[in-house]
Symmetry: C2
Subunit: 329 residues, 2 copies
């Protein structure tokens, strides 16, 4: 079993790499080779028993995809993307990487299948940004895709191509629409959604965090650990049950900021909660208002995808995976 992870240097890519290295198997088969690529060279994991290659590449370069596919990997995880904010600021870069880069990969696979049969599992990370307001209270599995960002447009197009290339038998695609990942480890970043993580992450280690929206703002979350679980399940699942509909809303947890804060209070007390500073920001509040708040992810649940059921659980995962298992007192 040979695996390629495109976008391996990102937060989810690194966690997926660790999980694969730790297990040594995927879909019940021994992992023989693992190729980790990203626009910056991914870190080489310590795993002498595995044949691991790391490469710095730019998927917007039309000649790169062929080299990634040359060794005919069995499973390709495609996590690489220009994120929402940057794709909005740099129209051409977003399309070059998120649309053209993805299409080059699909095309390289199709071309590789011309000489001898080849149909790898292709796990495509899509996003709930394929949906655009106004929404129903819960977005169902048959709600239409009307993205309100170029990033969401590029992801929705990737999903359509994934489905058509799968239907044609060129590849065996699964698209997973990730919830917002919470608690995202590391430093605060500039993503407009960053506060959902930072209002928990920072107070858990005694630092202040800024809350730019009201406590009744509702959003759709899953932990980094759940995201890795989605990816692995998408690589291992029986895809014959998907039919022509290859992209799925992942399960998650719909919660208000107020519910996040109450979970923080239960785990870390009033002192932690007191570190959240209210700094209402109208622009952020308006953006958040336009994002999906809740899903009925019945189809993914029936297919075996699992997420957390409470923010207590999401915080506990963060403490276990990122803080060495316990809070400093």
């Amino acid at each position: 079993m040979n695996i390629v992870i495109i976008g391996a240097a990102g937060m989810v890519g690194r966690k997926l790499t660790s999980a694969l290295v730790a297990s040594g198997t995927l879909a019940g088969k021994q992992i023989d080779g693992l190729t980790l690529v990203d626009v910056i060279e991914p870190e080489m994991p310590r795993a002498p028993e595995l044949n691991i290659t790391t490469r710095a590449i730019d998927i917007a370069d039309p000649s790169v995809a062929e080299t990634l596919i040359a060794e005919r990997p069995d499973v390709i995880f495609h996590l690489a993307a220009i994120v929402s904010g940057e794709a909005e600021l740099d129209f051409e870069k977003g399309y070059a990487i998120n649309l053209d880069g993805t299409r080059y990969l699909f095309e390289a696979i199709r071309q590789a299948g011309k000489s001898e049969p080849y149909c790898p599992r292709f796990v495509f990370t899509s996003s709930i940004a394929v949906f655009g307001a106004p929404f129903p209270d819960k977005i169902g599995d048959e709600f239409f895709q009307t993205p309100r960002t170029s990033y969401g447009t590029q992801k929705a197009i990737g999903e359509l191509l994934l489905a058509d290339y799968s239907r044609r038998g060129f590849l065996d695609g699964v698209g997973i629409r990730l919830p917002t990942i919470c608690i995202r480890p590391g430093k605060p970043n500039k993503a407009a959604s960053g506060f959902f993580s930072s209002i928990l992450r920072e107070p858990l280690v005694g630092l202040e965090a800024v809350l730019p929206v009201s406590e009744d703002a509702r959003h759709w979350h899953a932990s980094p650990r759940a995201a890795v679980g989605f990816l692995i399940h998408a690589a291992e699942m029986d895809t014959t049950v998907l039919g022509a509909r290859r992209s799925l809303n992942m399960p998650g947890l719909s919660a208000t900021v107020g519910e996040q804060i109450e979970a923080l209070r239960r785990v870390a007390g009033d002192k932690a909660v007191a570190l959240i500073r209210r700094e209402p920001d109208a622009m952020t509040a308006e953006m958040v208002e336009g994002w999906a708040k809740d899903f009925d992810a019945s189809r993914a649940l029936a297919l075996g995808f699992r997420a957390e059921a409470s923010f207590d659980e999401i915080i506990a995962i963060h403490i276990k995976d990122e803080l060495g298992g316990e809070l400093l007192k």
Copy 2:
């Protein structure tokens, strides 16, 4: 007012050209120039008072779009496409024309807007092929796009790009998802949907026609005259009411083959109906079973798009527009 029609040599393109030439105006403005392009040079209409240009071009050629946009037309009708059957047989050709050709047009418009502001009305003909079975009884305005053909995939991608380029202010797009056009004039063609037209068109002039499906097969229809009406309304309408959702299911008539035949009987008698020869074909029946049967096109109706209410009306339009106004006895 300068207009470009891409795909002007096709059946709908020719009827749109005739309608524009006859009216001499669009959106209340005098038509000054009309450029008719297609992969074969469109016929020059007799209209000495209009400045009409005809050109044979291939929109899959990346250098062509810029020349079409060079004179900064006010309205662009994009009707050109590799049809469903051919896009399925020739994967590369379908993507080259239906996806890349369309994207080159959008990009040429965006580039033209860099030197001085430019935001033309862009009317994009999409298709109900963006939907894939299983369907609800009536497909509503928020049903998701899961095409089951490469053609439908390419049209759905065109819609997403149209919406994103519109949102960004590069163009002012309206996508219209046409029903099956019935009665399509001319000779029987090889489209699997061709029998919906030929079982009426041929008997109306005393010729035999073949019916490959059962009489309870249901489908979604509009006349060629309605299609031209949709295009002109899409060019003239106020688009501020569309918001981010730029593509619309056009209204139409949901009817069974049996209802078509009864309308034929009312208009042309038992003798005409007797010319329909039943030749059941399992493959055609299965394809038709996978097509959309009925829509709730509330949004387009509210926005002023209009189609026929009965097959009697559709047949009457064919007799008026194609057969000189009356049936030969």
